[in-house]
């Protein structure tokens, strides 16, 4: 795929260096990603697309500021290079282009040793970012949010409603909110033989109870078929929670994650339905989005099973 967009000249001007090559990396839904060689460096340019942006995603300028705060906090992230303002009428930023494996199904086949505690290391650093450093981050009642999103789908899903009911009935006492990544799981981390290299995809960053992030990689869908390794298909939960406590002082028992695991299944179940609507409404026609509508049943079954065992 070789194509040079009309805004390549603007990009050169903002970067202050010559662009040797650029190509579109497939896959973005609300944002596009360009692999760019400029002045001998390999960059990734993330640029907004048209259409409705998911209500919970950050504008690119804020995402860039989150990336900068993450670097300051010592989180392993691709180096943010520059917020570029608008290129061809849409905002964009540049960061370092990194190599490594992101595909969950491949990572779970042969996970590098120590990945469980490395996940905890990064999460602990993220959760230590001072919230006042990122004053634009918002918090929201998660249960109400998914009730609203499910209501907007326009198709009855009583199993997801049941999950939401159970969540309302069993709310845990909240922990003080922290800066959370919002999509911390396999698929959004870069892994090599050495272990965890980078944490990617910061567009869902927000303020939340720390357990929302802690439990998200445990959700069955993110085990990529290796169900018996509860932590992301790569390991056990105990060493992950132990390391997290060691670094943050927050003691979280495995059973404390049950509520958040049910929530995670509601979140991804509703997410499948809303993403499917991108296809059905014609906003983003894609067979991948289309089949997600039928995948929601997997999360429905899982949450019913979790509730039964809780």
């Amino acid at each position: 795929m070789v194509e040079t967009p009309g805004w390549a000249g603007e990009l050169e001007a903002r970067l202050g260096r010559r662009v040797e090559s650029m190509h579109l990396v497939p896959g973005g839904a609300s944002k596009e990603a360009w692999a760019v060689e400029a002045g001998g460096d390999r960059l990734m340019v993330r640029r907004a697309l048209g259409g409705v942006i998911h209500e919970a995603t950050l504008p690119l300028e804020d995402e860039f500021r989150v990336l900068e705060a993450a670097v300051e906090a010592g989180v392993k992230v691709p180096r943010p290079i520059a917020y570029l303002g608008e290129l061809g009428g849409r905002e964009a930023f540049a960061m370092e282009l990194v190599d490594g494996e992101t595909i969950g199904r491949r990572i779970v086949r042969d996970p590098p040793p120590g990945l469980e505690t490395q996940l905890a290391d990064e999460l602990a650093k993220i959760h230590a970012i001072p919230p006042q450093r990122l004053p634009f981050l918002r918090s929201a009642d998660v249960v109400e949010r998914f009730e609203r999103e499910l209501g907007s789908v326009g198709e009855p899903h009583p199993a997801l409603e049941y999950g939401l009911w159970w969540l309302r009935e069993h709310r845990p006492a909240p922990l003080p909110e922290v800066v959370s990544h919002g999509d911390f799981r396999l698929g959004n981390i870069v892994v090599s033989d050495r272990g965890l290299e980078y944490v990617l995809d910061w567009e869902f960053a927000h303020l939340s109870d720390p357990r929302e992030d802690v439990a998200w990689p445990i959700v069955r869908a993110w085990r990529f078929g290796v169900d018996d390794r509860r932590l992301g298909g790569v390991g056990e939960v105990a060493p992950y929670l132990e390391r997290y406590e060691e670094l943050t002082g927050r003691s979280i028992a495995e059973a404390d994650l049950d509520w958040w695991e049910v929530l995670g299944n509601v979140k991804w179940g509703v997410g499948c339905l809303t993403q499917c609507r991108r296809h059905l409404t014609g906003q983003d026609r894609s067979v991948e989005y289309a089949v997600l509508g039928r995948m929601a049943a997997e999360m429905e079954y899982e949450l019913l099973d979790l509730i039964e065992r809780a």
Binding site: P26, G27, E147, P156, H157, P158, A159, E161, Y162, L164, W165, R168, D227, V287, E288, A290, V291, R294, M295, A297, E298, E300, Y301, L304, D305, I307, E308
Partner: protein, 101 residues
Amino acid sequence: MPDRPSALELIEAVTEFLSTEVLPAATDHRQRFRTLVALNALGIAYRELMSNETSLSDEQLAELARRIRAGDVRDGDHTLLKDHVAAKLRISNPGYLERYE
């Protein structure tokens, strides 16, 4: 009745085309992935047409969803829902249920 091929036979024909011609020729990772997704979608459509599952009607589902949203959860709802979702999965992804055995 329309002429043959039937809807099922048309799905089979496209499935065979994708798996024997498109998939082996797909060199790009992304292209290959999307072809597999398309085959999966055809499999769902095929199983749905072949199925004689009796499921809850749209009206029943809407009423159940409305009642649970209102907080009126009754004995038997959990079992009813599990059966309903299992019936959906036998069409969308029968292998998934085996993971719970």
